[in-house]
Symmetry: C2
Subunit: 180 residues, 2 copies
């Protein structure tokens, strides 16, 4: 049984945690990727902003308004390249925090009941999904990117740690990523 | 070439970030593990406190005082079970922040020069290691546990996310852990 309070507690904390982790770090941590075709920390935060702006709450509202009769738009995993132009990492962290707060305030205003969580929408790949599954995924999507950020940053020190590379699990993570 | 400023910036931020991520979360996130023989988030924070108290700075000082003539003690990866008794997660987060601040202040007081970073000590498994490698590992050890924490929490929602389990990389991470 999905406890929405548990989900909301994490959704509330993640932007503050990312801000504390990344604020004022040198670019040598946040502007580097893991190799060709991979993301920087800066890119990940832009992606999280895009999700707040166009994905999670839009899909939640679509479930409540239209049920399975409309199919969600696909996530645009490259949108952050356009939307982040001219913004610093600090700007993006502020934006993520602000958008998340607005979204959680709107969600609270809907006053969802347990039965609402069982309402269904239509995912372009999976078909029917519940509001419960969507909101749980919103929180775990934060964690998947926190997992990725810790790995991107660690990879910058693959050589610097010398023989300890053997004992540091994060340096043996192969990413496990798949299309959003 | 190891930029100590880069390392120190991350070492400074991690305790604040973990406090923001975990403070006041329900136990359903922080008191659960990933299965038999694995750690809870609470256990990880206790382990980080133990490292601040007995490992990183003790080893750094041993390098400066004795070079390769003394071998480091092994990490005690189970110490947190004893040391955390009676403490809340909030207590441990406070303790981690306080110990880290004290350690970084002491490190700053040593006024290390680039040549000091090349000084060597003796690791019980690897043999000769440099102070540079030790300090880099201290920072990446934070990231390896941030990576682990995001995975432990995500695993609590493996079923709750429904079909999205397929797209969430953190739920496909197998841990990559090895003895410290």
């Amino acid at each position: 049984m999905h406890d929405l309070t548990q989900t909301l507690a994490l959704l509330h904390n993640t932007p503050v945690a990312l801000s504390a982790l990344l604020r004022d770090l040198p670019d040598s941590w946040t502007a580097k990727d893991e190799g060709e075709g991979t993301w920087t920390v800066y890119g990940v935060i832009g992606h999280l902003c895009h999700g707040e702006r166009t994905d999670w709450m839009t899909r939640a509202k679509m479930i409540l308004d239209f049920g399975e009769s409309r199919t969600f738009e696909r996530f645009d995993r490259e949108a952050q390249g356009r939307e982040s132009q001219g913004k610093s990492l600090g700007d993006l962290l502020d934006e993520f925090g602000r958008l998340r707060s607005e979204n959680l305030a709107m969600l609270a205003s809907w006053n969802l009941k347990p039965a609402d969580l069982e309402r269904k929408g239509r995912h372009p790949v999976f078909g029917p999904v519940t509001l419960s599954e969507l909101l749980a995924t919103w929180a775990i999507h934060d964690l998947t990117h926190l997992h990725q950020i810790s790995r991107i940053m660690a990879s910058q020190y693959r050589d610097t740690v010398g023989p300890w590379v053997k004992f540091l699990g994060v340096l043996h993570c192969d990413g496990h990523s798949s299309p959003a």
